[in-house]
């Protein structure tokens, strides 16, 4: 465990008991995530990437091994609101305006009204949704709703951002745009981002480290340090370095029998 | 199912216990009145003196008489045993003696109510179905009928019940079956209408468009897509509908002059001051409601299973 690691997993195990026998969602997963990393988890369904994210968030309980967040147990980390979580669907409350939705965690954490106002303004600017504060979710497109959901996750200034296939339900053009914006956001705010995806280009484009996982049992097949520079225009996806890394990811997936 | 049976049984058992415990305080003042008339020693001795004393204090001061609360002929709250006895007296016992269909048997009266409920239900379901089909297929029906259907339910049919009975007797229809069926149908058509409209409109646009690419006729679209899609909605509203039809029948039996049916027995029990008859009829009515709704539930399971909609 390095001094700068923010999330540390050691021999993590999660076995579900089902009617058809035990399911090893996670087996012997060991990983350190450092401060300021942008780390992507990629793999097919059933490889455990979402399960691992949920373990970090304290939404699932492991059946073996250790997992600490900021040096605390996952439950303590959850209760001290150490991270923001972004789901695959925006899940905004239709009875609140966009501003109201971003205020939701701030109300729960009992911030003052003026502090709430400032934070809402700040995060709306960060995700480029200025002017939409008083609109309702159904008046916004899918991409915009997802941006609002990211704003909501940023509003209480947690150091860690956990994202579970946040752009999976959007079309490719919107997705590209949001990828760019997310990178920019990361550079601006210096947060530690843990990102789950099943798109190889997205994983390679966004992250500093790529973790390849495979199913049955859910395990890590490869951890790739991304040598690409931090400043990355979208066009970098056509370069040969990019394609090399993507090929290595694909190799890892094949070795984990993900394509079987 | 088993997992759910246990909490239900515990709750039912608790309700049963509370019922038994509640009999004593509910009946105590009447019991003391009766004992006073029988020249027993009661404290305080006269009824006017007792009126403002709380039941709890009375029970403490006259605790040897608590048992009497459980045996009154005209209790405010009968014990479960008394209700069960009354039901048995007017059903099973009469059946054994071969008098199941006598005018005093709850089997007879239950059957009268049941018959009317079926008529009302059939009428209401037909109106509901026809209405739903016209609303879905004709814009003019959608706009004109739907608001009035909603308003019809906000008009308390019970206000119309005596009216309908008088009207039909004036027209020459002597027995009460027709007006009762009308009242039943009035209460039951609306859930069926609303449910069927939702059901007939439930197929997705892509499914309707697919049939258009086959150049399917309107009849085909109705019988092959809309009707099967509406079956789950139909059964849910049938359950609500049959309960409503039963309520309608009993309401139709309540206005003065009714002599047959469970509602009539309740009325007569009230007029003659025999509360046990009221309780017995209510329990039989509840039993009927349970049986009817469960029957539809079973039909629902069988039908949906055949259609592959339920495992």
């Amino acid at each position: 465990m390095s001094k700068d690691s923010v999330i540390s997993a050691q021999a993590l195990d999660l076995t579900f008991q089902t009617n058809d026998g035990p399911v090893h969602a996670l087996k012997n997963v060991s990983l350190d995530i450092d401060r300021g990393d942008f780390i992507s988890f990629i793999g097919p369904s059933g490889c455990g990437k979402t399960t691992f994210l949920r373990c970090i968030a304290g939404l699932e309980v492991s059946t073996g091994g250790h997992l600490t967040v900021n040096g605390q147990t996952t439950d303590e980390a959850r209760r001290s609101r150490s991270y923001g979580y972004v789901f695959q669907h925006a899940g905004l409350y239709p009875w609140r305006t966009i501003g109201g939705n971003i205020r939701l965690p701030l109300e729960i954490m009992k911030l003052s009204k003026s502090e709430q106002k400032d934070r809402v303004e700040h995060t709306l600017k960060l995700v480029d949704l200025e002017g939409f504060e008083n609109k309702f979710p159904w008046q916004l497109s899918g991409g915009m709703q997802q941006r609002a959901s990211i704003a909501r996750a940023l509003s209480f200034n947690a150091d860690i951002l956990l994202m579970d296939e946040p752009f999976g339900a959007l079309d490719e053009i919107v997705r590209d745009h949001l990828n760019e914006q997310l990178l920019q956001l990361w550079r601006q705010t210096n947060k530690t981002i843990v990102f789950v995806t099943h798109s190889i280009p997205e994983a390679v484009y966004l992250s500093t480290k790529i973790v390849v996982m495979s199913p049955r049992p859910g395990r890590i097949t490869d951890i790739i340090d991304n040598p690409l520079p931090v400043e990355r225009p979208l066009e970098i996806r056509d370069t040969s370095e990019f394609l090399e890394i993507a090929a290595r990811v694909r190799q890892g997936l094949r070795e984990g029998h993900s394509y079987d | 199912m088993i997992r759910n049976a246990f909490p239900i049984l515990i709750v039912l058992f608790s309700i049963f216990c509370i019922w038994i415990v509640a009999v004593a305080p509910m009946n105590f003042k009447i019991a003391l009145d009766q004992l006073e008339r029988q020249k027993e020693e009661v404290f305080p001795a006269t009824s006017p003196e007792r009126r403002n004393v709380s039941v709890v204090i009375l029970m403490f001061q006259n605790s040897k008489y608590i048992k009497a609360s459980y045996n009154l002929e005209r209790p405010r709250l009968p014990t479960p045993k008394q209700v069960a006895n009354e039901i048995w007296k007017t059903t099973g016992k009469m059946a054994i003696k071969g008098r199941a269909w006598s005018k005093r048997s709850l089997i007879y009266h239950g059957w009268v109510t049941l018959k009317s409920t079926f008529f009302g239900f059939a009428l209401g379901v037909s109106i509901g179905l026809l209405g739903a089909i016209s609303i879905v297929y004709f814009r003019v029906a959608d706009l004109s009928l739907m608001p009035w259907a909603i308003i019809s339910q906000t008009i308390p049919i019970v206000a119309l019940a005596p009216m309908i009975i008088v009207l039909s007797s004036q027209i020459g229809i002597d027995n009460r079956d027709v007006p009762k069926a009308i009242i039943s149908a009035y209460l039951c058509f609306f859930p069926v209408l609303v449910g069927m409209v939702k059901g007939l409109r439930s197929p997705e646009i892509s499914q309707i468009d697919l049939l258009k690419t086959y150049n399917a006729s309107g009849k085909d679209t109705f019988f092959k897509l809309r009707l099967p899609a509406s079956v789950p909605f139909l059964f849910t509203s049938l359950k609500v509908g049959i309960a409503a039809a039963l309520v309608g029948t009993i309401v139709g039996e309540l206005p003065t002059g009714a002599i047959n049916g469970l509602g009539a027995r309740i009325l007569i029990g009230d007029q003659f001051g025999t509360p046990l008859a009221i309780w017995a009829s209510l329990f039989i009515a509840a039993l009927l409601a349970g049986v009817l709704v469960t029957t539809i539930g079973i039909l629902q399971k069988i039908t949906l299973k055949q259609m592959g909609l339920e495992a």
Partner: protein
């Protein structure tokens, strides 16, 4: 002669409605109110024509014009009845029943054991002809408005309870997980997420309850009432063949029922403005 008028009115009314319904040039708001209104007015006119044309005795079926004139003439009696039945009986019973059902639903919701035990029983009781307990309530609470309110409380309690419990269960996993990531307390969860999400269900129950409330109050009066009240006036009016007064009472009942239901619908639109069913065009 009147047959001709009858048929022509019918055709004209129907015709106007068909044109209105199918034309695309009419504003939707105007059309949604206009068509049912014309339908209703046509029926009233046809009713009037039939009664006049067939010379139906007012004892069997009075004409709308006679009902309206009786209504005007008897406003004081109708008002007294209204206060007795609706204000004292139905509305008080409705409020008590609704508040009780709401709080008990929240209590039940805290325990999955209680929910599994009480919800099926609640469903069963909503199907029962609760009106039948009216004579027992009169026995327990006397002739006056208390027994009527008691009947209304019981009738209104179960639909609201069942619908509220279902509404509280209706939040999806994603929403509940999000609340967990905020480490929200039980009460924060309840007030910020589950109650707003339950509102469509709660209003569904409330709308059912408004119709039950009026039915309960009126039927309870058939079983004994001080010499006032809508149910009382209707049952004695039928007996003494005071049919136009009966119809006037029915008219009042219709208006009250519609207003009550309309109030609930208005509240629904304001509070659940966000729900898909309220946003449908």
């Amino acid at each position: 002669m009147w047959v001709v008028i009858f048929i022509s009115v019918w055709l004209v009314g129907w015709g106007i409605n068909i044109v209105l319904a199918n034309s695309s040039k009419v504003a939707p708001h105007f059309r949604n109110i206009g068509v049912p209104l014309i339908f209703g007015i046509t029926i009233l006119i046809l009713w009037e024509i039939i009664v006049q044309g067939l010379s139906v005795s007012p004892v069997i079926l009075p004409a709308p014009s006679l009902v309206i004139s009786t209504f005007m003439a008897s406003v004081d009696v109708l008002w007294v009845d209204f206060v007795q039945t609706v204000v004292k009986g139905a509305i008080r019973g409705f409020l008590i029943g609704a508040v009780a059902a709401f709080f008990i639903a929240i209590i039940i919701d805290r325990s999955s054991f209680l929910t599994r035990g009480l919800l099926p029983i609640g469903n069963f009781f909503s199907a029962l002809p609760i009106v039948g307990v009216a004579p027992i309530m009169v026995n327990w609470f006397g002739f006056d408005w208390q027994s009527k309110a008691a009947v209304v409380v019981i009738m209104v309690f179960f639909p609201i309870l069942v619908n509220t419990v279902q509404g509280l269960k209706a939040t999806d996993t994603l929403q509940r997980d999000l609340m967990k990531t905020y480490a929200a307390s039980y009460y924060q969860n309840l007030f910020l997420l589950r109650l707003p999400a339950a509102m469509p269900f709660i209003f569904n129950g409330l709308k059912i309850a408004t119709t039950m409330a009026l039915i309960g109050a009126i039927v309870a009066e058939y079983f004994g009432s001080p010499t006032r009240g809508m149910g009382f006036r209707i049952s004695t009016g039928v007996g003494s063949l005071d049919i136009d007064l009966v119809w006037a009472e029915i008219f009042v009942a219709a208006i009250v029922g519609t207003l009550f239901f309309g109030l609930m619908t208005w509240g629904e639109r304001k509070i659940t403005f966000w729900h898909a069913s309220q946003r449908e065009k």
